[in-house]
Symmetry: C2
Subunit: 112 residues, 2 copies
């Protein structure tokens, strides 16, 4: 049996990785085609670069994204969702559905 | 236009309220019938009482739960999901589905 941080409840285990204000925004950006470090910084929430670096590292360690070099000198990388990362799509979809009902003035990027 | 904390993206707005390691566990407990303060403390994650009090207050302020006195001297309260709170069901369901696929050793309470 894996040693889980808090309990073996799937919600608790998911939140150990995803339960913060930023991680799912990084996942959202990957879903809408963001690939490069600087592109994440351009999203309207202005993610602090230290948090972005940490979340990308954690998502990679958890197997939800891959990191691939697309340039050397200086090294630059692209990030992409793995199959496990893409399976978060329905979670984001239901979160959007709930939020748009609860806060009708929210706007998804595709609508703006 | 409502003044959102970070952006008008529905995911960002939802995470402003729900994006932490504990809030959705409190919602989970309400879904499985937990009503009273001490009952939340019995869940296996051992939520700190200061965090529990804060999250209940925030969920109530956001209109996701109601707080009703069931006893006086001393005052004691019960918490219940509102219709808006219950609409989080599909979010939790997709989070469980993702987590059980990603971490096959997790176990929902109903299975244990």
């Amino acid at each position: 049996m894996q040693d889980f941080a808090r309990s073996s409840c799937p919600i608790a285990v998911a939140l150990d990785l995803l339960g913060d204000k930023w991680t799912l925004l990084v996942v959202r950006d990957l879903f809408r085609g963001v690939r490069r470090y600087n592109e994440f910084l351009e999203s309207p929430e202005n993610i602090p670069t230290s948090i972005l670096a940490d979340r990308l590292k954690r998502l990679q360690a958890a197997g939800l994204i891959t990191k691939t070099a697309y340039q050397t000198k200086p090294d630059r990388f692209e990030y992409q969702l793995t199959r496990a990362g893409k399976r978060l799509g329905p979670v984001l979809k239901e979160l959007v559905r709930w939020s748009k009902k609860q806060y009708p003035e929210t706007r998804t990027f595709l609508e703006t």
